[in-house]
Symmetry: D2
Subunit: 140 residues, 4 copies
């Protein structure tokens, strides 16, 4: 997928972007990947019959994070005449969603040895970092 994402950006008729195209492609990929992994983690938590009560907060944050990452990935995929405030605020929302979900998943990975939460925490950390990188380049 990373190759296609970058190629799509490079073959755009107006590839000039607010962002470096390589960093942008990495962030778009991280958003779509995190949307998938969070959807999957919410469902895996829902299937943890005896631990379910302890995973309610995790499921809620997974669902939020899946929605926010999905929308952020779509907004970032558009190069045509973007609005910088929309980009900045949606990236900030994505950082917040990934941080909240990553913290909660990390806790379950550590305390309850939940492997799907461990993978999900890594995915959230990666997406948070990719969004921070783009935000940092906007401020410059």
């Amino acid at each position: 997928m990373p190759q296609n994402t970058l190629q799509m950006l490079q073959t755009h008729p107006n590839p000039a972007s607010v962002f470096d195209l390589n960093a942008l492609a990495r962030c778009i990929d991280a958003c779509f990947e995190c949307a998938q992994v969070c959807t999957s983690c919410a469902d895996a938590c829902l299937g943890e019959r005896e631990h379910l009560m302890h995973l309610v907060h995790c499921i809620r944050l997974n669902l939020d994070c899946a929605d926010v990452c999905g929308t952020t990935g779509r907004v970032l995929s558009r190069l045509t005449q973007p609005d910088q405030n929309v980009l900045r605020t949606q990236l900030q929302a994505c950082v917040a969603a990934c941080r909240a979900c990553g913290d909660e998943c990390e806790r379950h990975a550590r305390e309850m040895n939940m492997e799907h939460c461990r993978i999900c925490a890594e995915s959230c950390r990666g997406c948070e970092q990719a969004c921070q990188n783009l935000l940092g380049s906007m401020a410059a």
Copy 2:
């Protein structure tokens, strides 16, 4: 729809919320309505054969606004153990998307007499205001 949204909030097992439930229901409805209207306006603009070139920016902002409002409406619909930073930042992103799209649609309504853009601008203004109301109550 407003009645169902409010009833769903009121019949929730833990209806205590960060927000006043009536204001929350209004904002959720405004988000879903704006997601629909922006999707529709992007498509109507796409069908404006002779004016299409002048509506490219409008279509792009419509698509962003539809995605951002849809996600904001879903995040707000969840009362169970929310994260305040996620709520706040996603509401801020929704304000930014509605403002950018509302400004652009308002301009086309005024200068080109586009009726679908006039309705869409009103919908964006309403959603922006409903989000601002919730944000204001969080700061309190």
Copy 3:
């Protein structure tokens, strides 16, 4: 919202549609409403601490139905040069999602007296019927 949806369809530059515009507007509204209500019902079920184990299937079907209805509402909102196979198959998927979720919610409304499931079942039935109406008019 019904008024805005219909007005958006009527002010479209090419309002000729595969469907009767009034029936189409009702179905679009039903899809967006059902997407909201199912998102809300999944979260309400997640908050039902002592009954949570019995609501796992309901939550899963709520999440599917919210996604499917949201996408169906967006696809139907576009009048410009539609593909009839896409419309027909997505409407059929929406009928299936609403039926599965409506059946499960109805059972919890009846057996466990869950009020949010009762409202959600009604919303699913209404959306299923609105989709069936459009499908019936395509076959004609």
Copy 4:
């Protein structure tokens, strides 16, 4: 992303699925990838100033395909107590959306030498095939 998708399925508390897990992971990845590429292709087409009028149908089908693939990828990501009719009909809708969009993109790649449409057509073909594979295994 493929590795994470498969690992999430394998670490699920109830990994028994209607589908072979490797085929399922490939299809989920194809859906999320196609959702990204179609979002990108709609935007690239929107930026093709002199060819824009000829790309209206392509943009419309790209937007439908992005929505349908995104929802299909989310529904497939859930292993917990699925409904077979929902899976089957949503996969069929995804096949229809990918075929319509793939055909249109392929035509623009061939006749107008549009590189973003060529990549998008390949992505649609891959996703259509992955969905057909899962559908074929359900019928068995």
